[in-house]
Amino acid sequence: MRSVSVQSRVLRVLRVVVIAALVVATVVPFVYMLILSFVRIDDLLREPLHVLPTLDRITTETYREVLASEEDGGYGFARFMRNSAIVAIGASALTVALVVPASYALTRLRFAGRSQVSWLFLAVYLFPTIIIAVPVFVGFQVLGLGSSLVGLVIAYVALTVPVSVHMLRNYLAGIPESIDEAAVIDGASRLQIMTRITVPLAMPTIMSTALYSFMIAWNEFLFALLFLSAKQDLWTVSLGLTRLADGQEVSKTVLMAGSVLLTVPIVILYGVAERALTEGLTAGADKG
């Protein structure tokens, strides 16, 4: 019995230490990012350890500089953010439009090739994105979609569809099929069942699927790099930030402001939908 109580006491202390350490480790880099975005670059270079600026040294000039267009002496992040928003909204809308009917079919209908479709989606993850990106880029160039936001949207849809189908399908599988059957007896067609019954019932999961693909598209880097490097007016925030960070001419604190602008929309969306998103992703995981 003694060892039980000793262990319990040690573990109770250890647990608090672990939680505190993990929270600090996850939060500190983001706090550092936020603080540096308000610091003047010469203050950072002079005193890198004094991270917290005194009140009179706080500046918002970094944000003005990073957001302003090139003509106004800035780096055009306002436009990058618009590009990212267009791509992410386009990708998430298109993903939902494709995934809802497909998930419905995969849970409700028995058709030729059903199981093969599921395997196809799994196989996608075996290959590095880099080997997919190059032929897609060459193919899109031929079709005239190479250096365009439309091409990027199509590529992102393909990247997010497999996980989105998985999330939505797990949810739909939990809705009793007898509801569909009751509607059939009332004379509803397949389309009516889908639009009037399945979609409203699955709305929370559909929203979290949309958010998931928005976040993937907003954060993505490699495709943007290959597709849009040459076209500065089409850069997304991720691409713009890395391109500007590669050179020496832009000060790091200005780029920190850029990082904050890149991160904040994702954190807000995640804050709104954390519950739905994590439950959607882990659906089925607790069943072993």
């Binding site: 270079l45 890198p48 090739g113 290959f127 994105t129 954190v267 995640y270």
Partner: protein
């Protein structure tokens, strides 16, 4: 009416699934097949633009790939990196999930905060790490030299053994939330009765964990190992953004990227990617074989 719907089931199912399958096929399956074809061709960008799929077939790319010491080095780096980040992120994720198992004040908001490294844009987080670790103006080196008494600032991301270690630590930081999320869900699903019975029988907390909780988590752990290994093996963004593949961090994906953009050697890059995919496939087959018994029981 019902039988009429059943009669159209096959047709409707195929109609509803086709758009998704077409997009996935066009953007993912065809490019993979194309890559395999290109790996047998001595192709540069111009050739591909002019002739598309139809260039002369050759095995030269594979001979070059297998004869290059840099390839074997990249393979070794990839394996070290994948194993270390997989073990590290799942280990930390498991510890985190256990610590968060029982209720405490602010559990829900703190749990949400812990997932930030995973959901935040990789470009932003790698940039913050780069700045924080910078030898001139980074807070880590400033702290090390001024408070801890380091003689010199450490070149975390640009000198040989530390660069790979730093990338591994970054990836453990970025991906432990993923393991935390899934192991947390698995822990919630466990019935507490067996554990209570073990406690009644006098099991210590560590015995309870080792003999009761951990065995029940093993299926989830096995699945996570599979996920993480595949993702880490194919990882590009994190390494490229942190070090650009310099200082002994050239993993396979970064090497493929450099073959493509540096020397525009599409054939060679495709062959490298294909060989890596074969290695990954073999490793997966062995892993599934080894864990097959466990999954049956």
């Amino acid at each position: 009416m019902g039988s009429k719907l059943r009669g159209f089931e096959n047709r409707d199912g195929i109609t509803l699934v086709t758009p998704v399958v077409l997009v996935v096929a066009a953007i993912i399956v065809i490019p993979i097949v194309w890559t395999v074809v290109l790996s047998f061709q001595d192709a540069r960008y111009v050739d591909v633009a002019r002739n598309g799929l139809f260039n002369e077939l050759t095995l030269d790319n594979y001979a070059d790939v297998l004869a290059a010491p840099a390839f074997w080095q990249a393979l070794l780096t990839t394996v070290e990196y994948s194993v270390a980040t997989t073990v590290g992120s799942i280990g930390v994720g498991l510890v985190a999930a256990l610590a968060f198992r029982d209720r405490f004040r602010f559990r829900a908001p703190l749990r949400a905060v812990m997932l930030l490294p995973y959901v935040a844009p990789v470009v932003a987080t790698t940039f913050v790490w780069q700045v924080a670790l910078n030898p001139q103006y980074g807070v880590v080196n400033a702290f090390g030299t001024q408070v801890l008494g380091w003689e010199h600032p450490v070149n975390f991301l640009s000198s040989a053994p530390t660069a790979l270690l730093t990338v591994i630590v970054y990836d453990i930081w970025r991906y432990f939330p993923f393991a935390f999320l899934f192991l947390g869900a698995a822990l919630t699903g466990l019935s507490r009765e067996i554990e209570e019975a073990a406690v009644v029988d006098g099991a210590t907390p560590l015995q309870k964990f080792w003999f009761v909780v951990l065995p029940q988590l093993l299926p989830t752990v096995a699945l996570l190992v599979l996920f993480r290994m595949v993702m880490a093996f194919n990882e590009f963004d994190d390494v490229y953004l942190l070090t650009g593949g310099a200082a002994g961090t050239q993993v396979a994906s970064v090497r493929v990227f450099e073959q493509l953009t540096g020397s525009s050697d599409i054939g060679g890059a495709s062959a490298t990617a294909a060989v890596m995919a074969v290695f990954l496939g073999v490793a997966l087959a062995i892993y599934l074989r080894l864990t097959a018994k466990q999954r049956e029981s």
